[in-house]
Structure formats: C-alpha cells, structure tokens
C-alpha cells in the first residue's frame, strides 16, 4: 500500500533525516508567520480606530538591528544544519574519488528513457524496467548510478530519500535504501516531453530471501526455453515477423534492440507503460491494440494489429517469465 503523503512518511534513514529537517523548518516558518501576521493585524485593528495624525516616525537603526538578530541567528543555524545534512547525504558520490569507478561497486544502474526507466543490476546481470527490487534492510544501502539515454529526467522516490536528475552524458550517484519491506512509488520529477506524466516506477523492498529468489528468477542465465502452446508459438512467430525486435530485447532470441524496455521477463512485471495500467492479459491486449490511446505520444506506435494477432502476441508475452 502506498503512502498518501509520502514526503511526510519516510521509509529510509535518508528520507527520515530530510523529513525531520522539513518539520523543523516548517515549525520555524509557522512561528515567524504567526509573529508577522499577528503584528500586522494588531497594527491594522489599532490603526483603523486612530483619527489623529500619527507621529512621523522615520525609523531607528537600533530597532532595525535589534529585530534582525533573530533572523540572522536562524539563518546561520539553518546554514549549519543544511550543510551538515548535505555532507552526510552526499558522502557517497563516486565511490572512487579518482573517477575510476569500478563497475562492481555499482549495485544498480537506472537509465531514464522517454518515457520509462531501464533498470540494470550489473552484479547479477538482471535487466528489467520500471520496477526496482531491493532488500529491505536498515544497514544495507544500494549504490545507484542514475543517467539518461535521451533528455533530462529525474529519479524520485519520496519515501526513500532525495531525488536526483538523470542527465544524458553524466553519471549521478545516490544511495537507495528502505528500512521496511513495502512498495514505494517513484516518479519522474523533471519535465521530459509528451508523456512526463506517465513515467512512474515502483521500488519493491523485500526480505533478503525474497530478494535472492527474485534475482534468481530474473537472471538471464536461468532463462530456459519453454514449451509454448500453439497460440503462444504463433505469437512468437508473429513477434519476429513484425517490427517488435527492432525496439525490444528478449534474451536468447534474435531480439536484441534496446530502444524499448527489455521483455525477457515481461510477465513478471506488475505494470505496463510505466504505470499507466496493471499488467494483466486483458490490459496487455488493450495496450497492444493501441498504445497511443493509453499513452498518447509514447514511442510505441499503433500497429493496428488484428484481433487474431493480438491474442497470439498476448499469449506469447505472457510466457516471458
């Protein structure tokens, strides 16, 4: 179950630190606002009664300075706590300060595409899209490299901590961590074109055992050729006759393009189209029928598939586990 107000419902030490700072600043702001608003309202209610010319007061340096003491202290204090948190949360970036970052030190590579997220686990070789599995662990942090294949996107999971831009030609690094098991909604937070609104993803924090199991099920090496039903088999044939392999990869087949999401384990995924709809056979048929109807402007064209081909394709894609 996703949180209703995720920014106020942190689920990682990082998000919690930001949350605490936010509440603190909110409190100070409320106090400042109450003082200013109170003084203004008093001045007005009194001033409206007054009928005589008031004293022509041009101000005094002493009172200016006196009233500035409070704000100056608050600003200095805010600088201190923000800087402290910046240093703590930023004490990550390149694991290797020389910039010779070892690929093995990266747990996860997230690449933004118009309009979906490519997710790679370099250590296990797992490749998926729009969903990220991590072990829920208070001590274990995932080191994530965030980049982009086209325009600028922004990787943001409010309950798990800071957002970071995904910028082409540039590698950014953050820690990803969840204290408790659960699913955490993520969204693209930088305007990136027509379908910026549907560039969602989910982070699933699971137990260590579940995580290992998930990795095993997703590993490409474990991909076994399956016996396909006749319907699925004709779907497979159609997949390769049609233009599908020009954009998608299915491991162990001639489909190796990386323009669209990797479909090797498509049937495992919970959502289609970066959050547009749930991944059910009915919805998949709906999507394939006309992706432009569900996600106007997305890169997958409307192929005007016949109902026959639709059925076959759905049957085939549902075998990709």
């Amino acid at each position: 179950m996703n949180s209703v107000i995720p920014v106020l419902d942190p689920a990682s030490p990082q998000a919690e630190a930001i949350h605490n700072l936010f509440l603190l600043v909110l409190l100070i702001s409320a106090v400042i606002f109450a003082i200013v608003a109170g003084l203004i309202l008093i001045a007005i209610s009194r001033g409206r009664q007054r009928q005589t010319l008031p004293e022509q007061d041009f101000g005094s340096e002493k009172s200016e300075i006196f009233w500035m003491i409070g704000p100056v202290i608050i600003v200095i204090w805010l600088v201190a706590i923000s800087a402290n948190l910046i240093i703590t949360l930023n004490a990550i970036p390149q694991a290797d300060p020389d910039g010779k970052t070892d690929i093995n030190e990266i747990d996860l590579i997230v690449t933004g595409h118009q309009w979906w997220w490519e997710v790679k686990y370099p250590k296990s070789g797992v490749i998926t899209a729009n969903e990220i599995y991590i072990p829920a662990d208070k001590t274990k942090k995932f080191r994530v490299k965030v980049t982009s294949a086209d325009v600028i996107h922004c990787f943001w999971v409010p309950q798990l901590g800071r957002k970071i831009d995904a910028i082409p030609g540039r590698d950014n690094y953050i820690w990803l961590q969840a204290s408790e098991p659960g699913s955490y909604q993520g969204r693209c937070s930088e305007y990136c074109g027509a379908q910026h609104a549907w560039m969602n993803f989910k982070v699933y924090a699971v137990t260590d055992a579940e995580f290992d199991q998930w990795v095993a099920s997703e590993q490409l090496a474990n991909k076994q050729p399956k016996l396909l039903s006749p319907l699925a088999n004709s779907g497979k044939q159609f997949f390769f006759q049609a233009t599908c392999p020009q954009c998608h990869t299915i491991y162990g087949t001639p489909a190796e393009a990386t323009i669209g999401p990797d479909l090797t384990h498509f049937a495992h995924r919970k959502e289609i189209g970066a959050g547009v709809i749930e991944n059910t056979p009915e919805n998949l048929a709906l999507w394939l029928k006309d992706p432009q109807a569900l996600k106007p402007g997305c890169k997958m064209p409307d192929f005007k598939l016949s109902d026959e081909h639709l059925k076959q394709l759905v049957a085939y894609l549902e075998t990709l586990k």
Binding site: V7, F22, F33, G47, V75, L89, Q114, R162, R170, A197
Partner: protein
C-alpha cells in the same frame, strides 16, 4: 534653482507634427505616459491569454485521468503560460508603471530617450506577437518556460515551436534592455533639482535596482538563446551530450538570467508597496535607508544564487553548500523589508481601502512564499520537493501573492492619477475578496499535492487518494480569480465613464506625481515643488510637519552625468556580460573537445597583425575626439576616416581567416572548438561592423558640419562602444589565440 517653472520655449517637441487619427496618435506617440499605458494594456491583453491558458490547464487537472486536453496541448499551454506571464505580463506591466511614474516621481518632463522608449515597447509588442504566431503553425513552444536541453534541441523538439520561442524572446529581450537603459538613465540624469539619489521615492529606487538587474541579467539569456539557435539551425553541439556538449551548461546560463529575473519581477512590487503603505498609514516609510540598502544587497546576492534551481542536478556538495548559503542569506534583506513595512503600519492611522487591502494581503502572502523559499534553500528539502507542486505553490505565492497583489494595490492607488477618476471601492473590495479566496484556494492546496508526490508539469495523474479532491479545489479557486478579474475590468470601465473625479491628490500622498493634475499634462508639470526631503508634496501640504524640519537627508549636489555616455556605458555593461558568457563557453568546451580541430589551426601571427589594426583604431579614435573638441573639423574628419579604414582592415583580416577555415571544411558545426570559435568571433565581427556603420554616420555628420565641438559628448558615447569592442577583442585574442585561461 529651487522652484522650477518650465518655459514654453525649452520644451522639446516630441509629439508628431501632424495628428490625423486617435490610433495614429497612440501608435506614433513618444510620450512616456502613453507608452506606459500601452505597456499596461499589452500586459493586460496577455494576462487574459496567459490566464485563459491556466484555466484550460486547471480544467484538465480538475479530475484524474482527464482527457480534456491532449498531453501535447497541455505541454504547449504550460510552456506558453509561463513564458507569457513572465515576459509578456510581469515585465511589461512593471515597465509600464515605471514608464508612467518614474519621470513624474523624479520631476522630469519625459524619460531620457523617448524614441528608444517607443522602440523598446514595439520590440516587446511584436516579439510577443511573433511568439504567439507559433500557435498558427500548429506547434507552439512545448519545452517549458526554461526549455531545458536536450529536450529543446532539434533531436527532441523537431517542430518550429522552440524556434519561435527563441526568436520571440530575443526580440523581447532587446526591448527589455533598451527599456531598462532608459529607466536607468532617467533616474540617474533627469531628477529635478533638490532630489538627491537618496531622496528618490522607494518605487523609483526599486526601479533603478530592477533596471540594473535587467541590463546585466538579460544578456545571459541572450547568449544561451543564441547558442541554442545555432545548435538548432546550424547543427553545432553546444548542448548535445552525444557530441561532447553539455546539458547542464544551459541550466547554468538560463538561471544566471532566471534567478535575477525573479527579482526583476518582485523588486518593483516592493517599491509599490513601499509607496502605498506609508500613504495609507499617514506616516513616512520606516527605515528608508534600510529598505533601499537591503535592495542593493538583494541585487548583489541575486547573481550568486542561480544554482539553487539546480540542486537536483547533482552538482556536488561544495556547490550545494555555497548556493545554499547565498540563498539563505537573501532571507535577511528580505526580512528587513517585511520588518520595515510592518513598522510603518505600526502606530499609523490606517486608511483601510482597497489598495491597502491588497497591500496587506501582499505582505502575508509574500511572507508565506518567502518562507517556503527558505525551505528550498535548505538543500535537502529541495531534494524532496523541487519540481513538484510544492514549488509551483511557492513561486505562485511570490509572483501572484506578491507581485500581482502589489500590482492591484498600485492600480487602485495610481488609477486616479492616470485617469483623473477614482475606482469604485465597492467593486474593489469584491475584486479583493474574490482574488484572496481564489488565489489561496488554488495555490495553498498545491503545497500538499507536492508533499503527496505530484510532480509539476504532468498533464494528468492516476486516481491516488486525495489527489482528485485537492486538484478539484485548486481548479475551483482559479474560477474565482477569473471572476475577480472580470470585476476589476468592470470597475475600470465604469469608473472611467462615471467614477468620482479624483483631483490632483486624492490620498494626501507624498511624492511628486501628486503635485500635478490628474491626468498630468503632456509636459507633466507646470511647477515643480521645492524638494528638500523624501516627501516634497507632504512638505508642501503639511508645512508645520515638514520632513526636512525633522529628518536630515543627503542634499542634492547636482551631479547629473552626461546622458549619451551613461547610456553607452549601460549598454556595453550589458554587452560585456553577453561576451563573457560566450567566452566562458569557449573555455569550458575547449578543455573538453578532445578530438578534431583545435585552436592550433589558427594563424596567430597573422591575426595578431590584424589585431594591431583594430587596437590602433582606438588610438586614432581618441585623437579624432580631441580634434573634434578642439574644433579642428578637417583633422577630425581625417582621423575619423582613418579609424574607419583600420576597422575595415580588421574585418578584412577576419574575412580572410574565415575563408581559410571554410575552404578547409572547418565550419561552425564541425566540433565544439569550431562552434565556440565562430560564435565568439562572429558576434564580435558583427559588433565591429555595427561600430564601423556608427562611425560612418559620424563621419558623414562631420563632413556636413552637423557634428561639431558642442556635440562631442555624442561622439564620446560612440567612442565608449568602439573602445569596448576593442577590449573584447583583446580578451578574445588572449583566450582563443594565445590560449590564456586554459
């Protein structure tokens, strides 16, 4: 001279000689008051367009998974909404008020350069038309008002929308800079006798600060726009990461302009509030010097905080801390202002009319917008909430809750002066409540939407718990604001026809605009009151309580710099920023363009020799100027002719160099070196060409005997520009040819 009466004979004739129709009258006018009104009307027209765009977006967002607008349409609408509101509503309406009131408030008959003033307005007018013409091509700009690359590059925005956006903004930018130079020169040079710079009304002071911001910030946008246009049209790769360019550089350049732009939009609002609150509290502004000085601090800090728009980029912790400190520091001068406005109210005799209603709402709402601003300056909070609806709420609290409410306050305050009639208070209060209610409904809930995870600029959203309700409230609030605006227009219309006659000074206000009739005559004043304090009209009407008896202010020492030269300096300051940013782009890219041609293909010796021609032209210019002042006309013409020849020789050298490069297939789109080289030297060449043309005009005037010793300051103003072009070349030569700074 203490009391100035303006002689009929002194009056320069700026009105067109033949006035045939009302329309021609307005279109050809050079009167600052009419141009000011045209600015305001233009802004109101575009406010209707930008507001309509906002309403369409709010309809689309009023319920989840709505299909009222296509994503493409929605993206065009928010891009045009932002661009329109910033460049075609915010800036023009403030420039309009400045145009109308700055000359009146400093006791001048017109602005410094009436023709430049009209030019600036028409550039804005036609730039805005051109921008909106894009709708007719079927693709309005759709990359957001800050058009981040690579989204705005040809590869991802192949239609013409972004091109219209770039050209429209460049044209409006030229208009804004010329308008700002004009206001700057008016305040510095045309103040009435007795009005020292420390005695100007705070609105005038804020406009002085704003004009400095425009002069120095707009060129940053122009250089970025020029580079993006060259990328899009000529195939260079300044911003293309796949060819070595940088997507982040655009953000730096845009926000070096974009953050000062926020102060460009809010400082004049501070000025308006600083006029309204004292008048309706029957007191002088509390702590004038603190209000004025804190604005200087804001201008200075304003240039050092641009990257706080980029905390999510991952600039590294040192940059983050640096920009956090700068941004948090701005809270102090801003806090000083809020304190002073509150202290002005304190103990005052409050006239709680419509203008004052809007001023008080401004104070409270601006404080909210300022406090959420502090939240974003505390970087980790920004890492959560930037690019969400929280930030949408934040800047609308500043720009609507702040600037727009201040503008309404100023409108009710100054309408009597501009029209001679009072606005209706009854309609005014209705207008006020509709806006307060509507504005806070629309934007207060957006804070929560941000915390709930709603990113900005999404055309729709899933039916997440609570989102539909809050978005519905937000959309409903927009309707209230729309109705409130209609009430305001109705109020203006009916008041113009049968509003109460205002008289010269209906508010018993303090500053010089109230010392003339309402509306003022074309020459503004028949008699300018004696100026011995910051409130000359108060002194006039309350001699027993005159300010100068109580408070000492710096006396006017009568320093009024030469107008053309001052304008030339302001212009080259603007140009210097433009070239500085192009040169920075060269340095940045030259260190990273690893392959292909480099500066080693350049013939340093040959260009060095041609550079000497350009440098010596500065010397001959200097000599020519001395001949002119000494009245030696023929020697002047001769040395000026030599100057032109030297300039042309330099241009010939540049043409030779370009030909060599082009025949070797080195063009602007070859690599990053060639792109920056041709951009920097090309823009410099254009400036030399413009300088040669200006010198040629001077030469012709000299030959015909129209340029003589008494007009040598005009020639000197051209000289400021010509020497500047040479200095820029020295920097270009040092960096590109000699490899300094690399």
């Amino acid at each position: 001279m203490t009391t100035g009466s303006i002689e009929q004979s002194e009056r320069t004739s700026l009105e067109p000689p033949v006035t045939s129709t009302l329309l021609l009258d307005w279109v050809s006018t050079l009167d600052h008051k009419r141009i000011g009104i045209m600015y305001i009307l233009t802004a109101m027209f575009y406010l209707a367009i930008g507001g309509f765009e906002a309403l369409l977006m709010r309809i689309q967002l009023s319920m989840p998974n709505n299909t009222f607008l296509s994503p493409e349409m929605f993206n065009q609408l928010f891009t045009m909404h932002g661009t329109t509101m910033v460049f075609l509503v915010g800036m023009p309406v403030l420039t309009g008020f400045a145009n109308y009131f700055v000359p009146l408030m400093v006791g001048a008959r017109d602005v410094a350069f009436p023709r430049l003033n009209a030019f600036g307005f028409w550039m804005l007018f036609f730039g805005g038309l051109l921008l909106h013409f894009s709708f007719l091509t079927g693709s309005a700009p759709n990359a957001g008002w800050f058009s981040y690359v690579p989204l705005s590059s040809k590869a991802y925005s192949s239609l013409q929308g972004v091109d219209y956006w770039i050209i429209g903004l460049l044209i409006m930018g030229v208009g804004s800079v010329s308008g700002a130079i004009n206001i700057f020169a008016t305040i510095i040079c045309l103040r009435a006798p007795g009005m020292s710079l420390q005695r100007v009304p705070l609105f005038v002071w804020m406009m002085l600060m704003q004009s400095i911001l425009i002069i120095l910030a707009l060129p940053a946008l122009n250089s970025a726009l020029a580079m993006l246009l060259i990328d899009r049209w000529l195939g260079s790769a300044f911003f293309d990461p796949t060819r070595g360019g940088s997507a982040v550089l655009w953000q730096h350049y845009f926000w070096i302009f974009g953050h000062p732009e926020v102060y460009i939009l809010i400082l004049p609002a501070f000025g308006m509030i600083s006029e309204v609150i004292p008048v309706f509290s029957r007191k002088p502004i509390y702590g004038y010097t603190f209000v004025a000085a804190s604005s200087v601090a804001i201008v200075l800090l304003g240039y050092g905080v641009w990257a706080h728009h980029m905390f999510a980029v991952g600039l590294g912790m040192y940059a983050d801390i640096f920009f956090a400190v700068g941004s948090l520091l701005i809270a102090i001068p801003t806090g000083i202002k809020v304190f002073n406005w509150t202290a002005t109210l304190w103990g005052g005799e409050i006239k709680f009319n419509t203008s004052m209603h809007f001023a008080i709402a401004f104070l409270l709402q601006f404080v909210i917008g300022g406090l959420t601003g502090i939240m974003f300056a505390a970087v980790p909070i920004d890492w959560q909430l930037t690019d969400t609806y929280f930030v949408v709420a934040h800047f609308h609290y500043v720009l609507i809750g702040g600037t727009v409410f201040a503008l309404f306050s100023a409108a009710y305050f100054w309408f009597p002066k501009m029209s001679g009639r009072m606005l209706s208070e009854r309609w005014g209060i209705l207008h006020f409540w509709l806006w307060v209610l509507g504005f806070n409904m629309t934007f207060m809930v957006q804070h929560f939407l941000g915390m709930m995870g709603m990113p900005r600029r999404v055309y729709t959203y899933a039916d997440n718990p609570g989102w539909a309700l809050l978005n519905g409230i937000s959309s409903l609030g927009a309707v209230f604001m729309a109705i409130g605006t209609l009430v305001f227009l109705w109020n203006i219309g009916t008041s113009l026809l049968r509003g109460k006659i205002a008289g010269d000074n209906p508010w018993d206000a303090f500053t010089l605009e109230w010392a003339t009739t309402s509306p003022p005559p074309p020459e503004n004043f028949t008699v300018i009151p004696e100026i011995k304090s910051r409130r000359p009209v108060w002194d006039l009407n309350h001699p027993e309580n005159a300010d100068w008896k109580i408070e000492k202010t710096p006396v006017d020492r009568g320093i009024r710099p030469n107008l053309p030269k001052l304008a030339a300096w302001a212009f080259i300051a603007s140009e210097a920023v433009f070239f500085l940013l192009l040169l920075i782009a060269y340095v940045v890219f030259n260190t990273r363009s690893g392959e292909g041609v480099t500066s080693s293909v350049l013939d340093v010796t040959r260009t060095g020799i041609f550079s000497l021609f350009l440098i010596s032209s500065s010397v001959t210019f200097w000599i020519a100027e001395r001949f002119l002042r000494a009245g030696k006309q023929s020697a002047f013409v001769l040395t000026l002719g030599l100057t032109i020849l030297l300039g042309i020789t330099f241009l010939a050298g540049q043409a030779w160099e370009y030909t060599g490069l082009l025949t070797n297939n080195i063009t602007i789109n070859t690599n990053l070196f060639s792109a920056t080289f041709f951009t920097v030297t090309g823009f410099h060449g254009i400036h030399v060409t413009a300088g040669v043309i200006a010198l040629f005009v001077m030469l012709m005037m000299g030959i015909k005997g129209n340029l003589t010793a008494d007009k040598s300051h005009v020639f000197g103003a051209v000289g400021v520009y010509w020497h500047f072009v040479d200095v820029v070349w020295l920097a270009v030569f040092g960096i590109i040819y000699l490899g300094l700074l690399q």
